[in-house]
């Protein structure tokens, strides 16, 4: 019985214009996204070849992450060039996207397509499953047979999920395979594994919105009302909640602005230089080198303390923002996939810590008069570590939300008046 319902749902989708339009749109969007982001990646890779550190240069710069084609996240920020000098870290723009349109619109990467478009498509597949079939009377005819409502609901969910998931996975895998054909781009086993995990999480996220669609459909009598309610919820979950979380967190955690931070940096510099000049005058510029070194150390220590304080506050803000934003599955999805791709907030924070550690090492060497410095090496976290440090939580939350919405849909459908 379940198989018959699944097959019927798939056949009904295959025979509808809605399905073809949606699949065409999804294919077009995914391929456009892959093409645009692939070109962007190649451009940034060319930039990297220009700015990469020469042997012995104290510069920390990462090549662009191939998985940023799918989940761009903070890859642009992570691939900036960090030049180490006795006066601290000088951050260069690095490999910035050449496409100015990205400044106005979010990068239309795989994450964006799934987060915004696929979630909406899943709702469109789910919204009419109960209320529309009640309106046209098919639900009564179906339930006049010896078939449980649980079977009907499971069949509808599975049939629609497969109708959506199969073309989505095929198009995505085809795009991935085509990119792998390019000699300049190799994802390797780890990259491929991470990519497959991204696809799996995208499917959980899609299933969640399908469950939500069916749940609301089982709460309403008219399919038009279902659609309006679902569009409101979708806007709230995908656009409003993530931005609201950022605003609320900013009200709770006070983080100085970058301008204020720079002002403080200048103050430290000015004060120490003036003190240095005073001391040098007092001793008639004898022992000049030792005084300068002491003040440079003082500047470095104060800047480090200032930086540490700023990072502590900033990390608190980020943690709180993430916690609030996680109310939205869209945020949970974006966190999980960007961290897995190595372009997430935690990965970027870890990179910055590594750059600071590298800077401290380089400064010590500079003190000892070493001219040639070791190259900066950064290893992305393993999948296991990413999952342990929040990825698993986000994945579990998405899965729980999917199950919860399905369970709520089931309860609503069992109580649904099919007349």
């Amino acid at each position: 019985m379940l198989t018959a319902i699944i097959k019927k749902e798939i056949a009904a989708n295959l025979l509808s214009y809605k399905f073809f339009i949606v699949i065409l749109l999804m294919t077009l969007l995914l391929f456009t996204s892959f093409f645009v982001l692939y070109k962007d990646y190649k451009g940034r890779q060319a930039d990297y070849e220009l700015v990469r550190a020469k042997p012995g240069e104290p510069i920390a710069v990462l090549p662009p992450n191939p998985l940023s084609i799918f989940a761009k996240g903070l890859d642009e920020a992570m691939t900036r060039s960090f030049e180490i000098s006795p006066i601290g870290i000088n951050v260069r723009t690095g490999q910035k996207s050449g496409n100015a349109v990205f400044a106005f619109f979010p990068a239309p990467d795989f994450v964006y397509v799934v987060k915004v478009v696929l979630s909406l498509v899943a709702l469109l597949f789910g919204f009419d499953q109960v209320s529309r079939e009640r309106e046209n009377g098919v639900l009564r005819l179906m339930l006049s047979n010896s078939v449980s409502r649980a079977t009907v609901l499971a069949g509808k969910w599975l049939g629609n999920f497969l109708s959506l998931a199969v073309p989505f996975v095929l198009v995505t895998l085809l795009g991935f395979a085509l990119m792998n054909l390019n000699s300049g781009l190799r994802f390797g086993p780890s990259g491929t594994g991470r990519f497959l995990l991204l696809v799996a999480i995208a499917l959980v996220y899609t299933g969640l919105f399908l469950s939500l669609g069916i749940f609301i459909s089982a709460l309403t009598r008219r399919s038009a009302s279902t659609l309006v309610i679902l569009l409101l919820i979708w806007t709230l979950l995908v656009f409003v909640l993530p931005n609201l979380g950022t605003l609320v967190a900013r009200q709770i955690v006070d983080v100085p602005s970058v301008k204020a931070l720079n002002e403080k940096r200048t103050q430290i510099w000015t004060r120490e230089i003036l003190l240095q000049i005073g001391e040098q005058k007092a001793v008639n510029f004898r022992g000049d080198g030792a005084i300068r070194k002491r003040h440079l150390e003082a500047i470095n220590n104060q800047l480090n303390a200032l930086e540490a304080d700023y990072r502590m506050k900033f990390d608190r803000l980020v943690r709180l923002t993430k916690t609030i934003n996680r109310l939205s599955p869209a945020a949970g999805f974006a966190y999980a996939v960007t961290e897995l791709a190595g372009t997430g907030i935690d990965e970027e924070s870890r990179l910055k810590s590594e750059v600071i550690r590298y800077k401290d090492g380089v400064l010590l060497e500079m003190d000892r008069g070493v001219k040639e410095h070791p190259a900066f090496v950064y290893r992305y976290r393993t999948v296991g570590r990413v999952l342990a440090e929040g990825g698993l939580f986000d994945l579990a939350w998405l899965t729980i939300a999917l199950i919860l919405f399905f369970a709520l849909g089931f309860v609503a459908f069992v109580r649904y008046d099919v007349r």
Binding site: K8, R140, L141, R419
Partner: protein
């Protein structure tokens, strides 16, 4: 008629909706194998509520429905094995052909291994045009959809058939054809409970006719009794009479 032949039974069945409306008031009704029972009544008399209760779409406030001896409330899935349903306006999957619709609902009805010929045979039996067998149902007229609806009921081969105003909106020829099919099903031993507004056809096909008013079965007549009575006059008199609750 023996007790063994009893297929549909409403035992002291009442339904009061959440808004307080009493839709059905202590209904007692029995339909035996090979019998057509027609329920007559104005809108809101309780005809559709009775069918909805038999199909377990709504729970009864008091009383019990039995299909083939199975308590519908206690074991709805078992009870529904023995009943087929045709609604007033059969709406199927418009993008599916007649055969595809028939195939899907046959599978839901437990018939999993039927051939294309078996479907065609049923559709021929209800006089659906051959060219319509593989046509999308969204192009069908109401009469064609009703014929397909009764095909679904036939292919399920259940001992009971519930029909909710099946001839409403059909042209006279289509309605006549529809009733011929019902006659055949009756002769095959099906127990048929049909709600209708059509007094003439109820008299023509019904072995028993019940008139409902405000949720109560106010009158029941057999075919034999109706030979000596004017059903139209009885019906109109009941409809014009004072409200029962007054």
């Amino acid at each position: 008629m023996s007790k063994q032949n009893l297929i549909l039974k409403a035992d002291d069945l009442s339904k009061r909706y959440e808004d307080g409306v009493l839709a059905l008031d202590h209904l007692n009704l029995e339909v035996r194998a090979g019998e057509v029972y027609c329920l007559l009544g104005a809108n809101g008399a309780g005809k559709t509520t009775t069918i909805n209760l038999f199909l377990n779409f709504i729970p009864p406030t008091t009383g019990t429905c039995y299909i083939n001896g199975v308590d519908v409330t206690k074991d709805p899935l078992e009870a529904k094995k023995y009943v087929a349903f045709v609604s007033e306006n059969v709406m199927l999957y418009g993008n599916f052909t007649a055969r595809q619709n028939l195939d899907f609902f046959a599978k839901l009805g437990g018939k999993t291994a039927l051939s294309k010929d078996a479907y065609y045979q049923v559709m021929r039996r209800v006089s659906l045009q051959e060219k319509a067998f593989e046509q999308r149902v969204k192009t069908f007229s109401k009469g064609m959809r009703q014929k397909l609806g009764i095909s679904i009921a036939i292919i399920k081969d259940a001992p009971a058939i519930l029909l909710d105003e099946p001839t409403s909106g059909l042209d006279p020829k289509a309605a006549e054809e529809f009733l011929e099919i019902l006659q055949e099903l009756k002769s095959e031993g099906k127990a048929i409970l049909m709600s209708t507004h059509d007094i003439f056809r109820a008299k023509e096909i019904g072995d028993r006719v019940g008139i409902m008013k405000e949720g109560r079965l106010v009158l029941e007549r057999t075919r034999e009794e109706l030979q000596f009575e004017d059903l139209v006059k009885i019906y109109i008199d009941y409809m014009k009479s004072e409200p029962l609750t007054a």
